[in-house]
């Protein structure tokens, strides 16, 4: 469909800015694997310290890229399905909030005033602009949600008995989860951390801050994941040459995510003090609940792909796997999506290990963890994001892809690198190799008392995988900006592939309205979080003053 210049410009900026920042994000990913293997044994390279780089890596890749893309894809989806553009002023306002927030946080990180990692656990203190910047990115992402809700209600008035398109439903559900969970982190940042970092309040309750962070933190990972799920349900079957196996299954899965994405956050705090074993176990159980919609998705997608393969002429039990467009330049989205799904099989299995209560004690905060989540957030999420960004940009600008053959190979290269990387990290984690650690200067330095020879092979594998991933990532950036530099060859339009459903069930009213689900969500959240917060309140001692990263004395005392 035709869209306005202004719309195109916002989307273009929201896609291109984070991809440009990826240069830095992915560069430091590679560097981390090199430092960790002991190939270099120093605290910084090119004036960028390990932990400063790791903060940039987490914030750029996991907050900026994912949030900008979720907003851009939301705009595209709502506009394309409801045939109406969102409010222009709000689109720009949201963009400027997110951009200014990104610039603030980036300045604080690059100036070395916020090397506190993307989880910014107090009582390590970051520059107030780091907290404010993060808050602006989040608030900026709220505006479109309000506007889309308005658009949806208007559409619903005109079409009361039409099924809400699955992509629209998914977008709204994702942003309901996002809005709810970000309330907690907004409270943490605006009420607890900013006044404390400015010195207006003397201390902060660290346990409370951690619990609020993880109220947000687990839902954050679903906010990363759901745009990918939406694309898998509504785009992938079409690109593969088939249909979505069941539309209703998609709806059931999405509503289950709405119920269970937030009230599971304590599974990140299994090893924390102040929360009882009972509350931890309860959150563990609900975490298993949130695995169910992922199983439903896995089945529905596999069935859709089998259908596509058979339609493409496949025979036999597994023939359909061959008859999919693995290396088709015109259907390059398939390569990105299937690459992501292959990684997600391993990401899902390792995730179930993490969720499993006492089993978590084996791997919590070890290298296993990044090994796991690179197969989710840097797997289906990342490949989905970059593939779709390229697709939307190329259609909307009317430009042909630069180097299309290479473009179909990149995702598989990424997958190979990632499998090697994650194998190394997971293996290391099982041997106790810690995450978030510049291993090269001590544990991987043969001259150090702390040297651990059993971590040599594991960190070397991770580095090998890291080099391959880095190569694939750079090739992608060349293709994306190469495409931007090309001349327009046809009219630019907004177009995304839309899958039909193979089983297009009748509209089930329960799965086409939000109220009962939102009420249930709130009840489950209260059940899960009131006891957790009461625990924290009861078992916490004094609050903590502020600390800089390089001084064991509180800031007040070392002045």
């Amino acid at each position: 469909m035709q869209v306005s210049k202004s719309f195109k410009r916002v989307i273009f900026l929201e896609l291109a800015i984070p991809i440009a920042l990826l240069l830095l994000g992915i560069y430091h990913g590679l560097m981390q694997t090199i430092y960790r293997s002991g190939a270099i044994q120093q605290t910084s390279v090119a004036k960028l310290d390990y932990y400063q780089g790791l903060t940039l890596h987490g914030v750029i890749n996991a907050i900026v890229l994912t949030t900008f893309f979720a907003v851009a894809l939301g705009h595209v989806t709502m506009t394309y399905y409801l045939k109406k553009e969102p409010n222009k002023k709000l689109m720009w306002l949201s963009f400027w909030f997110m951009l200014i927030g990104t610039v603030m946080a980036a300045w604080a990180m690059i100036a070395g005033k916020a090397s506190v990692l993307y989880t910014f656990y107090p009582p390590l203190k970051a520059h107030p602009l780091f907290y404010l910047g993060t808050a602006l990115i989040i608030v900026g992402s709220w505006f479109p949600f309000f506007d889309w809700s308005r658009m949806y209600m208007k559409w619903k008035k005109v079409n009361p008995t039409t099924k809400t398109p699955l992509a629209v439903l998914g977008t709204l559900i994702n942003f309901i989860i996002w809005f709810t969970c970000t309330l907690a982190v907004a409270y943490e940042v605006l009420v607890l951390l900013i006044p404390w970092s400015m010195g207006w309040t003397k201390t902060v309750n660290v346990n409370l801050a951690r619990t609020l962070f993880w109220f947000f933190g687990h839902a954050l990972v679903y906010f990363w994941l759901l745009p990918a799920y939406i694309m898998f349900y509504t785009v992938l079957p079409k690109v593969a040459g088939g249909k979505l196996y069941s539309d209703l299954a998609g709806r059931v899965a999405l509503f289950l995510f709405l119920l269970f994405s937030i009230p599971v956050g304590v599974h990140h705090q299994y090893s924390d003090p102040t929360i009882t074993q009972g509350v931890k176990f309860f959150h563990g159980l609900i975490t298993y609940g949130v695995a169910i919609p992922s199983f439903i998705t896995a089945f529905t997608l596999a069935a859709s792909l089998e259908y596509a393969g058979r339609k493409n002429g496949a025979k036999g039990l597994f023939g359909w796997m061959v008859k999919l467009p693995w290396f088709n330049e015109d259907k390059f989205l398939f390569s990105y999506f299937i690459g992501g799904l292959i990684l997600f099989i391993f990401g899902g299995v390792t995730g179930i290990v993490n969720a499993s209560y006492s089993l978590n004690s084996v791997i919590h905060n070890t290298a296993w963890m990044p090994g796991h989540f690179h197969m989710t957030v840097a797997g289906p999420v990342f490949l989905g994001i970059v593939g779709m960004s390229l697709y939307i940009y190329s259609k909307m600008s009317g430009k042909k892809i630069f180097w299309p053959k290479l473009n179909t190979i990149i995702p598989y290269l990424w997958v190979i690198g990632m499998l090697i990387f994650s194998f190394g990290m997971s293996w290391g984690g099982l041997r106790g190799e810690p995450r978030r650690t510049n291993l090269g200067t001590t544990y991987l330095n043969p001259d150090s008392e702390l040297f651990r020879s059993d971590w040599v092979p594991t960190t070397l594998l991770a580095m090998l995988g890291g080099i391959i991933m880095f190569t694939a990532g750079m090739m992608y950036i060349i293709i994306f900006f190469g495409t931007i530099l090309r001349k327009k060859s046809q009219e630019g339009i907004l177009e995304i592939p839309v899958s039909e459903a193979y089983h297009d069930e009748k509209r089930v009213p329960l799965f086409d309205k939000f109220k009962p689900w939102i009420v249930t969500m709130i009840i489950i959240i209260l059940l899960a979080y009131i006891p957790a917060l009461l625990n924290v309140n009861k078992n916490s001692g004094p609050g903590s003053p502020r600390y800089n990263i390089d001084n064991p004395l509180p800031i007040e005392a070392s002045k």
Binding site: Y121, N205, Y288, F295
Partner: protein
């Protein structure tokens, strides 16, 4: 509800599978006495590093993490000892991981963490800080020495 037969079966299968996971989890928890740390109310008594010998085979360790060391940094105990670790932090958040024993705790300012572990085999066990705690994080390690030096 109008749902495909195969689909219903698959949803059932997923539910059964999840049930199986929960069952094995509970089973393992009881059989191997594996659990997550215990929850204690804050008590200032645990903020002084200490090793208490209760009897020949029972010890209490009050471990205090700070930028960038654990105190006590070397813990000597005989083979077969059962040790209660109480853990807190003097400053920022630290981690406490004895990987061979699956001991995994966070050390947090204003909070006390606790777990119990038995050291059946002689050896030197590294306690590694696995939460980023500032510029010296990668130096932060302590050791439990079980029946040292005969063990090494």
């Amino acid at each position: 509800m109008v749902m495909d037969k195969i689909e219903r079966r698959v949803i059932m299968a997923s539910l059964v599978l999840m049930g199986l996971f929960v069952f094995s989890l509970l089973y393992a928890k009881n059989k191997y006495k594996s659990n997550v740390p215990e929850c204690l109310p804050y008590d200032k008594a645990y903020t002084e590093p200490k090793i208490n010998k209760i009897d020949e085979k029972t010890y209490e360790v009050f471990s205090v993490a700070s930028m960038w060391q654990f105190q006590p940094s070397e813990i000597y105990i005989p083979v077969g000892s059962e040790v209660d670790f109480y853990l807190t932090s003097k400053d920022v958040v630290h981690g406490f991981n004895i990987s061979d024993k699956n001991i995994n705790m966070m050390a947090v300012f204003g909070a006390i963490n606790k777990t119990t572990v038995t050291f059946d085999k002689p050896g030197v066990y590294d306690i590694v800080c696995h939460e980023y705690c500032g510029v010296g994080h990668q130096n932060m390690r302590a050791q439990v020495i079980v029946n040292y030096p005969d063990a090494k």
